[in-house]
């Protein structure tokens, strides 16, 4: 690690984009216009499952004000027969069918056509004039309905166990032999759980503004978790080469994984190309809820065997996850992460990817991992009770540590899981007294974290300040972290570092803002670029002083001779060397592009207290502490922010959030009133305890922190509810109607 003086790393600096965001000046996806701009709207299927026999757009095209109409005919087809064409984790065969239905509409809200017109009202009117001849088919929404005999099959080509099926794939992680392991067990607990699909709930709906010039040069203004993903997917779906598409990352109003794929951009590009006018498209909240990806609902069964002393000897998990209309549920996260915190000799973890007639799932904060952890961490709670062990002591006894081989493959390097358990055990929260109808639960969680491709430029301005350009949209304050690190390395004031997010044509390829990878990966490339800049600065000073560059050191923002033996010279500051740059070799700057490696997984342990309102059936979280190994907290406030935000989302998932379907197979609560995410009055303060076990493979010790904090939450809440009521819920959400029903049954039992 090359950090020496620690002046800026760990400081709670003011974020570079902060003033713009508190004054309303920051430009998000829907905040821009272009001269001559028109509006695009999407016509969506009203049916959960229907064959599209024909589409007639003639009447819509004839409506005055309509400038272009597109259907699936205009979109590049990735045929199923030709096999997978992958872009990251997305198969373009499904992506092309998700942005616009081809032969079949597979969920209510599935796009079937799009219109651009001079006003939004005309575009909406034109959508109504498009005639779609549907052959309505039987449909399946829930996993059981999609798996039963005779279930309607979404993708007829697909076979599982030799039969047409909605199971699109199976993966497993295996270690040892569970048959042997369970034979050795003195106690075995097996339970089944269900969770509901939940939406990422970003407050900014998807939006874009796109122009296509007559020569094909395309400008995309949109918010996403990756401008390069937007460029690549739009290119592949429209046929416009990537070199002609400039994708500009607008400020993004929340993503949480949900903005890692495109919905509108290919449609707006085609509409702009056809009409010759810039096209703006903005989803309504209802469209967001009906047609963009939630994370999966699930059915899980977890079986854990242990010795009487608490040693876990075998574990088996099977996780069925809803993929929605197209394959690709996050089974890898459920399968790989669920047992990862524990050193278990025999593990089998299986995942099944199940399609049904609901919108295609998208990534959501540690995709799949919270679903698996909910099941595993609840079973561990029951195991601890059966063994009369403290739940943290049970986890400590079985905790993964350096050298543990995880079932999903890796042998862990130095990790901080045990430290999170110790910190939780010693936290005053864990010993605090509880009142009547209150309960406490704990749970742990793991997320893989990710490295991958990142690019950055560090340029010294003519007046001796610094501009850093990276390629990752900043959602949660990553610019502040980068500025802290760059100021530290160059030894200058934080305010002299400006950090911006480049567009696709001005900075090198950078993979998604996702996987908890951004600060890990971007600070790695920025560190290497800053090191190159410092080398240049030392060379320049050496040349001026006529000494060897090795005899020059960079310290406190200036070049100094390494020792008096090297010569007596006044320090040359960044400003001095910038001023002399034109005569000393030219501009000072460096750019680095890397496929970053060494993102080690992250662990967290949470403590949750709840109080149950027995009159209303409402579970209220009254105290919460999130402990996490964060590697190195480069900007502690934004690290805490990640923990607090993840916890709030998990509380919503545990207690309230779910889609309600009506008898027609349509979502009945496609808005924030009835799809109820936690509001300010629902939550207590959310305490954080940051454990810092630096990542040995990163120059500043950084580990990803964004996703782990969602993983343990539902189990922590469920365990707390069990502790309060003596009754366990095996399905989420633990919403007031369900809690009331259980309370009524308990009252009845007591009366009898």
């Amino acid at each position: 690690m090359n950090v020496v003086n620690n002046k800026w790393i760990g400081q709670r600096t003011i974020r570079p984009d902060g003033v713009d965001k508190v004054t309303g000046r920051a430009a998000f996806a829907a905040d821009t216009t272009m001269p001559g701009m028109i509006w695009g709207k999407v016509l969506r299927s009203p049916h959960p499952h229907a064959r599209i026999k024909s589409i007639n757009t003639a009447k819509a095209e004839a409506l005055p004000g309509v400038k272009a109409v597109v259907t699936s005919r205009d979109i590049v087809d990735f045929t199923i027969e030709k096999g997978a064409v992958m872009l990251g984790i997305q198969d373009m065969r499904w992506m092309c069918r998700n942005v616009m239905a081809r032969d079949k509409a597979l969920f209510p809200g599935h796009p079937v056509a799009a219109v651009a017109a001079t006003t939004e009202a005309i575009a909406a009117e034109a959508c109504k004039l498009i005639e779609v001849d549907y052959e309505v088919l039987p449909w399946a929404i829930e996993i059981d309905d999609a798996l039963k005999d005779g279930a309607p099959i979404l993708h007829e080509f697909n076979k599982f166990d030799g039969k047409p099926s909605n199971i699109m794939g199976r993966i497993e992680s295996k270690k040892g032999d569970i048959a042997i392991g369970f034979k050795d067990a003195e106690i075995v607990i097996e339970r089944s759980f269900t969770t509901r699909p939940v939406h990422q709930g970003y407050i900014e709906p998807h939006a874009c503004l796109i122009s296509v010039a007559a020569d094909g040069k395309t400008t995309i203004w949109s918010s996403s978790q990756g401008q390069f993903m937007v460029r690549a997917m739009t290119s592949m779906l429209t046929g416009i080469p990537q070199s002609d598409i400039r994708a500009i990352p607008a400020e993004i109003g929340g993503g949480f994984g949900g903005k890692t794929i495109v919905y509108l951009e290919p449609l707006a590009t085609l509409l702009a190309k056809k009409s010759g006018r810039p096209v703006k498209m903005v989803m309504t909240r209802e469209e967001v809820m009906r047609a963009t990806g939630p994370t999966s609902g699930s059915k899980s069964t977890v079986r854990i065997g242990a010795r009487k002393d608490g040693t876990i000897v075998a574990a088996h998990g099977s996780f069925y996850l809803q993929a929605g209309a197209f394959p690709g549920s996050p089974i890898r996260g459920a399968v790989g992460c669920s047992f990862a915190p524990y050193d278990i000799p025999h593990v089998l973890s299986e995942g099944f990817d199940v399609c049904s007639n609901r919108s295609k799932v998208a990534a959501y904060r540690a995709p799949g991992a919270p679903i698996g952890a909910y099941a595993v961490e609840c079973v561990l709670d029951e195991l601890a009770a059966a063994l009369k062990m403290d739940p943290l002591a049970l986890r400590l006894k079985n905790a993964a540590k350096e050298g543990t081989k995880a079932a999903h493959g890796p042998v862990f390097p130095r990790i901080g899981y045990i430290e999170t358990l110790e910190a939780a055990k010693n936290h005053p929260h864990y010993a605090a007294p509880l009142g009547k109808l209150q309960g406490r639960g704990v749970a742990s969680g793991f997320w893989f974290n990710a490295g991958g491709e990142s690019s950055a430029q560090v340029n010294i301005t003519e007046d001796g300040n610094v501009v850093v350009t990276t390629g990752h949209p900043d959602i949660g304050g990553s610019r502040a972290g980068i500025a802290n690190i760059c100021a530290e390395l160059l030894g200058i004031d934080y305010k002299r570092v400006s950090v911006i997010i480049g567009d696709t044509q001005t900075v090198g390829f950078s993979n998604l803002t996702g996987g908890s990878r951004v600060l890990f990966a971007s600070s790695m490339v920025v560190t290497q670029a800053a090191d190159k800049v410092i080398a240049t600065l030392r060379e320049r000073a050496a040349k001026l002083w006529e000494i060897d560059p090795e005899a020059v050191k960079w310290e406190n923002g200036a070049a100094h001779p390494v020792s008096p033996n090297a010569g007596q010279f006044e320090p040359l500051t960044l400003a001095d060397l910038a001023e002399k740059a034109p005569s000393q070799g030219g501009p000072i700057g460096a750019s680095v592009q890397l496929n970053t490696q060494g993102a080690e997984g992250g662990f967290g342990t949470h403590i949750c207290d709840v109080e149950v309102d027995v009159d209303l059936g409402i579970v209220r979280v009254i105290r919460y502490t999130a402990v996490q190994d964060v590697g190195r907290a480069v900007h502690p406030s934004y690290v805490e922010g990640q923990l607090q935000g993840g916890v709030a989302q998990g509380i919503g998932w545990a207690l309230n959030e779910e889609y309600i379907y009506n008898k027609d197979g349509k979502v009945d609560n496609p808005g924030f009133l009835d799809y109820r995410m936690p509001v300010c009055s629902d939550l207590p303060m959310l305490d954080c305890a940051l454990v810092e076990v630096p990542n040995p493979k990163h120059p500043q010790g950084v580990k990803g922190v964004g996703e782990v904090p969602l993983v343990p939450v539902m189990a922590a809440v469920a365990n707390a509810v069990h502790n309060a009521l003596g009754k366990r819920f095996y399905s989420l959400p633990m919403s007031p109607p369900k809690v009331s029903a259980v309370l009524d049954a308990l009252t009845q039992q007591a009366a009898e």
Partner: protein
């Protein structure tokens, strides 16, 4: 139906505009008035990202017709700072990292200012219930509540 002519005041400046009878105040602000600091998260009054004040009263501009601004005073996030000088709430939000993506921030600040205008010494519970109409999906509200309470304390101190 012809457009309506509206004469109003936005952030203390006289403003005139033409609008459709069905046009919302939010659309007028973000559209022809070019004030995009107020955000549209739901258009149903559930998220609060479009919060403005109408004669000092906190409203969701997505639930208000643009024509209703006639003769009244509108204030938006763009009017909160005085030139280069940030409002104490804006400053405190920055210091507390009370924002992540920033999409809810305009509405949070406008709503918080409206709270402090009527209650200079709110309890945590009062802050939480006042802001219950402003959704934030990033922060879990912790740092927002702290920023508002600390601003209130400092503003009381300054006013003494």
């Amino acid at each position: 139906m012809p457009k309506l002519h509206v004469t109003t005041s936005v952030n203390g400046e006289p403003v005139e505009f033409l609008c459709e009878p069905y046009e919302t105040m939010l659309d007028a602000l973000r559209g022809q008035l070019g004030l995009t600091g107020s955000k549209e998260g739901c258009s149903s009054g559930d998220c609060g990202a479009c919060s403005i004040t109408l004669d000092g009263r906190l409203v969701c501009s997505c639930l208000m017709l643009a024509a209703e601004a006639e003769g009244h005073e509108i204030r938006t996030i763009e009017g909160m700072a005085k030139g280069e000088k940030l409002h104490p709430l804006q400053q405190k939000f920055l210091e507390h990292a009370a924002l992540q993506c920033g999409i809810c921030t305009s509405g949070m600040l406008v709503a918080s200012e409206a709270l402090l205008a009527r209650n200079s010494n709110p309890t945590e519970e009062e802050v939480r219930f006042w802001l219950a109409g402003n959704l934030c999906r990033c922060t879990g509200y912790d740092k927002i509540v702290r920023a508002v309470m600390e601003t209130a304390a400092e503003m009381r101190e300054t006013a003494r």
